[in-house]
Amino acid sequence: MAQIDLTLAPTGKKKSKKRSLWADAWLRLRKNKSAVAGMIMLATILIVIYSSPLYLDYDNDVIKPDLTQTLQFPAKGKLLGTDELGRDVLARILWGGRISIGIGVLAMMLSSIIGCTLGAISGYYGGKTDGIIMRSLDVFMAIPSLLLMITLVSIMKPTITNLIIALAIGSVPSVSRMVRAQVLYIKGQEFVEAIRAQGASDFRIIVMHILPNAISPLISQFVMEIAGLILAISGLSFIGLGVQPPDPEWGAMLSSGREHIRDVWHVTAFPGIALVLTVVALTLVGDGLRDALDPRMKR
């Protein structure tokens, strides 16, 4: 047989440099316009909200009622008007955002840690392990998640920590299911068997190979879940189990302004807009991350 020259011409002057998965993802994320827009939005929201203690005084600006100024329309000085107790809506939105977003993100992190562990174990090992984990989660699934959260919060006390725990537990079943489905799909691919044939341990296969592959389709859903959790907090606040008054919180503000919605729109509209903007920003970033974390999307 003729000698075949196997050496390949170098692909160009550009030498590919060593970059980690995340560094690479960051490069791709930067090229995605809508993700960049989302990141700028999110960063602005977070900076403005989290720096609020610097320019707002909790006692005077956020919770102090002023009954002479109730339900004022937006005007100079009170840019977004006042609520039914005469408190500045803008100040409360800014302060309340810290609580809403903070709880949402922390609860999602907690539930994704638990959910990834359970989902990955259950999807990877299958059989009895899968049966036990999934059937126990089905018990939680059988109860509507809001009802579950209500029950949990009322058993514990409605403190911020308990709220986070309750929200996390409420979303664990759905997160586990998503992770499990992804793991099942990836597990069936040949590269997993190839890696096993190289002598990798189960732990290594799950953590180093399956989860990184699962993360890109899941991350946008996780980010969307945060939005769902922020809404769930407002649901809990609505029935008095969420953030306790007089602390502001977007959901609580929405529900308290609801009675006045026919006469004064701004009390509900502005917290609602804040919520929508945050959710949109999160979604854009989430979608961007999904694409960025998949090396095949590279252009």
Binding site: K18, R19, Q189, E190, N213
Partner: protein
């Protein structure tokens, strides 16, 4: 005589499914000597891959189960090892190349990371050193170092298969199992990959089991050949034995199905019929429903796998002298 590296004795693998017991591998015995290449040839569903997975200890359990036999690596029966010890063997002593290079690499990591991982996993090496060695491996399979930090999807099929080969050979295994390494590639790339494997094999003195259904590939690189049918070995011998003097009717049938460039024929002479359903294997000789020489005896009794000339084994009543036909007609 060279030293025996791997000896499989009476390996039996069954899958217990809802539709019954699938007898995928039945009493397969094979020997691989050091530095030698054994080709396992057979139709789809003959149990070639299952045998390979059995050697790797990767038969899905359940539903699969190794029901009997021994797999001796040197003097150790590796079927007796626990999962942890077996894991240390994989990739280091025995490695495997899978059929489809398109899906055999993890899409989210660069190729160099994937090679470095096996190295780091089996040898006590730091990240930097493992990476250095991974780049050397890539150059060994003739992939330029500047492409090391690219992702699998940026490589062509042939290059991916070479990366897979680099991974398999990264820890200098003593036995390499190649499961149809060239089936998913087009013919020119096949030649390149085979050439490369042959070259690397002689350089590193690795033994190899090559699973294929392509007799052309076998004649290129194998020293020994085993013909597998319905989960058992029906004939085995050296490359010359099998190619010059095939005994079993099935082997002859296989050769008869290959088009010959020098001859003008209207039709090829294929083997009539289909591979039997492994969950419902025929009694007696597994090949008898498709065999031109079959007599009543073949459907009741099983022939013995025995030696007819030194190193050349076959499993057929024709050679036991129990059938009217005294010889199987050679393919032309």
């Amino acid at each position: 005589m060279q030293k025996k590296l791997l000896e499989i004795k009476d390996l039996t693998i069954k899958f217990h499914t809802d539709d019954g017991v699938v007898e995928a591998v039945n009493k397969v015995s094979l020997t691989v000597h050091e530095g030698e290449t054994l080709g396992i040839v057979g139709e789809t569903g003959a149990g070639k891959t299952t045998t390979a997975l059995g050697i790797m200890g990767l038969v899905d359990c359940p539903p699969g189960r190794i029901e009997g036999g021994k797999i001796m690596l040197d003097d150790r029966d590796i079927l007796q090892l626990d999962e942890d010890e077996f894991r240390k063997l994989r990739g280091k002593e025995i490695s495997m190349i899978f059929q489809d290079p398109m899906t055999a690499l993890n899409p989210v990591f660069t190729v160099v990371d994937q090679i470095a991982e096996v190295i780091a996993n089996h040898q006590q090496l730091g990240e930097k050193e493992a990476e250095q060695k991974a780049i050397e491996m890539l150059e060994l399979v003739r992939i330029p170092a500047e492409r090391a930090y690219e992702y699998p999807h940026q490589f062509s099929g042939g290059m991916k298969q070479r990366v897979v080969i680099a991974i398999a050979l990264a820890c200098n295994p003593r036995l390499l199992i190649a499961d149809e390494p060239t089936t998913a590639l087009d013919v020119t790339i096949q030649a390149q990959v085979l050439e490369l494997m042959k070259d690397l094999k002689t350089r590193s003195k690795t033994s190899m089991i090559l699973i294929t259904h392509d007799l052309g590939v076998v004649s290129e690189i194998c020293d020994q050949v085993a013909i597998m049918y319905a989960g058992e070995i029906v004939e085995s011998g050296s490359l010359e034995d099998i190619f010059e003097n095939p005994l079993h009717p099935y082997t002859n049938g296989l050769f008869g199905s290959i088009p010959d460039i020098d001859k003008e024929v209207e039709f090829l002479s294929p083997i009539e019929g289909l591979v039997p359903d492994p969950s419902d294997l025929p009694k007696g000789c597994k090949f008898h429903p498709r065999c031109k020489y079959a007599q009543h005896l073949c459907s009741v009794e099983e022939p013995v796998f025995q030696e007819y000339s030194p190193g050349h084994y076959a499993k057929c009543f024709v050679y036991e002298g129990k059938l009217p036909a005294k010889e199987v007609k050679k393919y032309e």
